[in-house]
Subunit: 90 residues, 5 copies
C-alpha cells in the first residue's frame, strides 16, 4: 500500500462497462510528511474519500477486489482514509 | 489506472494468436495538466480510442480482462476515454 | 522480496473491512548497508515487527496471502525480521 | 506491452525445469523512435524473434501464458514482432 | 526475467512459516556487461545458486511457483544460473 492524497477527479463517459458508476480519483503519492513524490495515479474508491483527503491505496490485481464486480479491469484502489501518521527517522 | 494520450500505432503481423485482431496503441503517460511523463507503453483498446485522445489505461494482469480471450498475454489496456479532469493542488 | 526498516505507523479508522484489525506499518526500503533508498510503502505485518526493526517485505498480489482473509485488497506485507545480513561486493 | 529490441541471448544450462527448451532473449526497451531507454530484461519468445528485431513484450504473470507449461516461473515474454510504428507527438 | 548477481545472504529466524527452510539471497540486478544497476532484491533460490554467481531471476506472483508451497508469500526467485551472455549493441 502507498500513502496518497486525492487531488482531483477524472470524468470518462465512455469506459469499460465494469467501471460504470465508479469515481475515478486522481491520487498523488505522498511521503509520510505529506510532500508529493512521484506521478499521480487514477484510483477507484471504496471508502468515501473526498478531494484533499489523505488515503491509503493499493495497486495491481488486488485493487479489483474492492469492486462490486471483482473481475473489473481495475489496478488501483483507495482502501483507507488516514487519520494520522506516526513516523520516525523521516 | 493511469492517465495517457494515444500517440501512435504499432503494426505487428507476427504476434501471439490471442492478440490477432487487436489494435496496439502507443500510449504516452501524462500528468493531469496533459504534459508527458515517463515512457510510452503499448496498450490494447476496448473503448474505441483514437490517435490524440486522452485515456485511462490499466497495466498488469487485469488488462487481459478486456480481451475477448481473457487468457491472452496482455498487460496493458485502455479502459476509458477522458472527457475532463478536475485537478487541484497541481 | 525487499529489505526494509519499519519507520512508522499509519492510523486509518475508515478502511476496507478486510483490513480491519491489521497494523499498517510505514516501511522504508533499505540497501544491504542499512541506508535508505526509495519511497516508503505501507505494509501489513504477519511476524510481529516493531518500529525500527529491519524486515523483509513482499509486494503485489502475494502479499495478501499473509492475511486471515487472503482475498483482502493488500499489496505489501512484512514476511520476516532480519537477524543479520552477509553482503559482498557492496 | 512495451517496445523492445532483441540485443542478445543468455545461456543457462542449470535452470528451472519448466524453462528448459526456451530461448532467453536479452531485450532492450526502446522508445517509438528506436532509441534505447531503461534496463534490458530477459524475455522468452513465442514468435520466432531474432537478434536485432524490434518486438513487443509483456511483463508480469501474463507472460507465462505463452509457455507450453503456463505454470512456468516466467515474467517476461515476446508476443509480437514489429513491422512498423506510426508515432505522432514524439 | 532479469540478470542479477548473488551478493549476499539475509538471515531471518522469524519469518512466515511458508518461507522456513528457504535461502534468502541478496541479488543485485546487473546489465549484460556485468555492471551493477538498480537496487538489490531478496530472492529465493531453486537452482543452487552461490554467492558471486550470475543468475536469472523473476519477480511478482510467478516467483512463488518455485516454492514447495506455491502459496508462499514470495515475489522474487532465482530460476537459472548464467553460463554466458551473448550481447550485441551494448
Amino acid at each position: 500500500m502507498y500513502l496518497g492524497q486525492v487531488i482531483g477527479l477524472a470524468i470518462a463517459t465512455r469506459k469499460d462497462e465494469r467501471l460504470v458508476g465508479t469515481k475515478l480519483l486522481i491520487t498523488q503519492p505522498i511521503l509520510p510528511d505529506g510532500s508529493f513524490s512521484g506521478q499521480p495515479i487514477i484510483a477507484v474508491d471504496s471508502v468515501g474519500a473526498g478531494i484533499g483527503e489523505r488515503v491509503i491505496f493499493v495497486t495491481g490485481s488486488v485493487a479489483a477486489r474492492i469492486m462490486s464486480d471483482p473481475n473489473a479491469p481495475c489496478d488501483a484502489a483507495i482502501v483507507g482514509i488516514i487519520d494520522s501518521i506516526e513516523s520516525f527517522h523521516r
